[in-house]
């Protein structure tokens, strides 16, 4: 029964994270929300008796994906600044 409550809560939080990732104005917050979605998904895998998948998702879905997104955002931001300086 307690597992059921935890699962419902996790599902609600994950849907909220997906909503934030789609609709928040700042891209940085959206990327962080995507990473948090991956982290909650890894907890869900652990509840579903899949520890291997949970480890992979925790390392890749919330760690490396977010870092790659931030590298790209950083590059794009500096490019936009250069353009403003020229114009």
């Amino acid at each position: 029964m307690s597992f059921l409550i935890i699962t419902v809560l996790l599902g609600a939080v994950m849907l909220a994270m997906a909503f934030i990732a789609i609709y928040h104005k700042k891209l940085i917050v959206a990327v962080i929300a995507t990473g948090a979605l991956g982290l909650f998904a890894s907890i869900l895998y652990l509840l579903l008796a899949a520890p291997d998948v949970a480890m992979t998702e925790a390392a890749i879905g919330s760690g490396l994906t977010t870092i790659i997104f931030f590298y790209v955002l950083n590059r794009i931001r500096t490019d936009a600044k250069e353009e403003e300086n020229e114009a």
Binding site: M14, I22, A49, A50, T56
Partner: protein, 118 residues
Amino acid sequence: MEYITLITGFLIILAGLWAIMTRKNIIRIIIGFVIFDTGLHIVMVSIAYVRGGTAPILDGSVSIADAAQKIVDPVPQALVLTAIVIGLGVTALMLAYAMKLHQEKKSLNIESFKDLKW
């Protein structure tokens, strides 16, 4: 429990699809793909769940003889395991494309790329 995770997975898939189809920013479209991936993985793992099952690792608590009665289905888990790693590679590839596109046009709006339209 597996019903709830299944429904959550399908809803997350639909949310990702909505993000892919309505957003204009390329980075947000890629975020939509990531969300879609996560939902798909949740659906596959929850289909693999067997009621009251334990993880498919045969240590002290599960012996070889009654493995078939106690463990959950390992096949979709193995598929999801590789799919997550592929997802990282594909996401990195899409982001590299996005970076190149931004260098060309100085814009991330998908509507400013009309070169093949006439």
